[in-house]
Symmetry: C2
Subunit: 406 residues, 2 copies
């Protein structure tokens, strides 16, 4: 008898038939004697439909109202799941983010969970309910408004609740059957990983492998929640995200990640004075735009060029924010390049093995791929390259680091 949190993604509940399947699986889990909390995403396509309507009505929809709008999708799907569970004899109750005590900050459309008061969930579990939770949403601590946790936010809802109620495991049911050494659509020889560390998963998530939302992995690591990625088609065990063990260290690189959602912004002839960078990146941060790779080149005496990458869909917004700043600081111009991508190698093994980065650069050079920007962390190396070379780069690195399956 365990305490389990499950999370079903949008494709898993995309039709009424699929909702019935999910309910059947929940019933089977419950009948094994487990206590069960289930987080549900919006039905596939629903969130996109709502976003489309909002953008048909406004160029820049108010984010507070977007959250009220988008949170509806998960309320609908979680109510439907609870309704069918009761129909097939499983005592179930649907709770909203607010009712689950999920308090977030006020960064609408990408809020972060600050705390969870799980007493209602625990009370319902004690009363033998399967607790169905509307994912992706919470309530802002200051204004009591509905917030959403960003794309993939239901993963974070699930893991955060698992942490709050000290669940034995958080099972993420999704339309992939686990975490792969690379995207199987690009690399035919990609292999499924049985285990991966939180740190590696975080790097992979932030690098564009869309299996789990990065915040969910952070929560898992911080609160020691094992996360199991499972296919919602086969229900076969997929990949366990957990702590490092000895075997894992032996592998140099665990996976190759890539991200097309990249744009480079270059500000030219920036006066080389203290406080200028803070002014630039402060203005961007204020708008909640994440900056990824930053490179500063000396160009001529007293001036410098600053390049950085942002998500491609936020690039225009970033340029709008920066235009007045450029004038104010006396820089020359701002340029934007959207035909770039990021490829990365990730592995905890890197810590104890030097020369991994060099091998990566060498591999790319051999394929004639020019590296535009580089960034590294303890367990990853990322290169910004022209988008047209991306697939080639991923396949070459996958092979060079011995990840191809036999």
């Amino acid at each position: 008898m365990g305490l389990i949190v499950q999370k079903y993604g949008g494709t898993s509940v995309g039709t009424l038939e699929k909702i019935k399947n999910v309910c059947k699986h929940i019933k089977e889990t419950k009948e094994k004697g487990h206590k069960l909390v289930v987080t549900i995403s919006a039905m596939a396509g629903e969130t996109d439909k709502l976003i489309e309507m909002a953008y048909a009505l406004a160029k820049n929809p108010k984010e507070r109202e977007m959250d009220l709008l988008l949170s509806s999708g998960e309320r609908i799907s979680s109510a439907l799941v609870a309704i069918h569970l009761n129909e097939i004899g499983v005592k179930a109750v649907a709770l909203t983010g607010r009712q689950c005590g999920i308090i977030t900050d006020s960064a609408h459309t990408k809020a972060r969970i600050k705390s969870i008061d799980a007493k209602k969930i625990l009370k319902m579990l004690d009363d033998d309910y399967v607790v169905i939770v509307a994912g992706f949403q919470g309530i802002s601590e200051d204004t009591d408004d509905v917030t959403t946790l960003g794309r993939g936010g239901s993963d974070t809802t699930a893991v955060a609740i698992a942490a709050a109620i000290k669940a034995d495991v958080c099972e993420i049911y999704t339309d992939v059957d686990g975490v792969y050494t690379a995207d199987p659509r690009i690399v035919e020889k990609a292999r499924k990983l049985d285990r991966i560390t939180y740190e590696e998963m975080m790097e992979l998530a932030s690098l564009g492998a869309k299996v789990l939302q990065i915040r969910s992995v952070e929560f898992g690591m911080k609160y020691n929640v094992p996360i199991m990625v499972i296919s919602s088609y086969t229900y076969n065990p997929g990949t366990l995200v957990t702590w490092e063990d000895e075997n894992m260290e032996k592998v140099l690189v665990s996976g190759i990640a890539h991200d097309k959602n990249q744009a480079r912004i270059t500000i030219t002839k920036v006066p080389d004075k203290p406080g200028i960078s803070a002014r630039i990146f402060g203005a961007i941060a204020e708008k909640n735009i994440n900056v990824d790779v930053i490179v500063q080149n000396a160009s001529e005496a007293g001036f410098t060029d600053i390049s950085f990458t942002v998500a491609r869909n936020e690039a225009d917004k970033a340029v709008d924010v920066l235009k007045p700043v450029i004038k104010e600081i006396g820089a020359s111009d701002i340029e934007i390049r959207k035909d770039i991508s990021k490829v990365s190698i990730v592995g905890v093994g890197m810590r104890s093995h030097p020369g991994v980065a060099a091998k990566m650069f060498d591999t790319l050079a051999k394929e004639g791929i020019n590296i535009l920007m580089i960034t590294t962390s303890e367990i990853k190396v990322s290169c910004i390259i022209e988008e047209k070379y991306l697939e080639l780069a991923v396949r070459a690195l996958h092979s060079a680091f011995g990840l191809d399956k036999e």
Copy 2:
């Protein structure tokens, strides 16, 4: 400069184009200098779509979860309206039922408003926002769960808020252009009424004229809120629901109402003992099923037949509830008849004019229409008749009481 509450129904916000039209009208009202609260229904068809999904997943969906499900429609439409208003330069904020402080009882799917704490609305009005309110919903006082107010509940939201903030008028925009002396689809010569009393409107609403939810009229009368029914196509002034004035008293009958959503249930050979009626109608009330007309006939010594009407869509549920009760009290059988309808004449003038009922019965008799059951109040007389005679009855009464337009 006034304080106005407006309410737009589902067809008024049924498409993105219509939402834009509504926003334009809101903007024009705001620009006249009024303070404005706007209650929005779900986009036409959305609530039905959600109900359909629920019933595809369960024969008797849990009402608590139904409310969570159905309340989503109004959250979506109110968010969309607020989003577009901001786009066209009107400062607007969307609030949920909870954020509007709407506290209800716990009768899920047909909850009643117990109180409104309007301080958030008033604060937003002071800050010069147009306040967009998700209609049809509140929060139950005991359990903090989402509740809904029943079909047409957004009317009640609007009038209740108008009462709470002491608005000058509550404008109900709908797909009809006012209250008519009879349904114009049945009576070609029906006339639009410029004014009608709260009492008459309540009788008409409860009798099946679907212009306003009955609870909203009760609120209007109790808290002295003038209610203006306006066409959302023409924006022309329609019918004002208000207090009686001298002119209105002169009219014997103000309107003819009809209701097809009727079924008669007859329990035969009920032992004629004290407490039996209480047992029968107590069991029905417990399931929140409304009973309308009740007739008790002496049949044979020591036994009686009891007939009553309920909404046709609740008739099967009522019979299910009563089957064990029939056994328990030793009655003979339970019969159900669904081919009946109700026709009613309504008018405050009746109070001071005797003989109105007699004239009604006479009119029906002349058309060869048999009366199955009768019920009366101070300002109305209703007859249950066979459904096939309904249109004929409405037209005959409309003409007999001098309501036909020239």
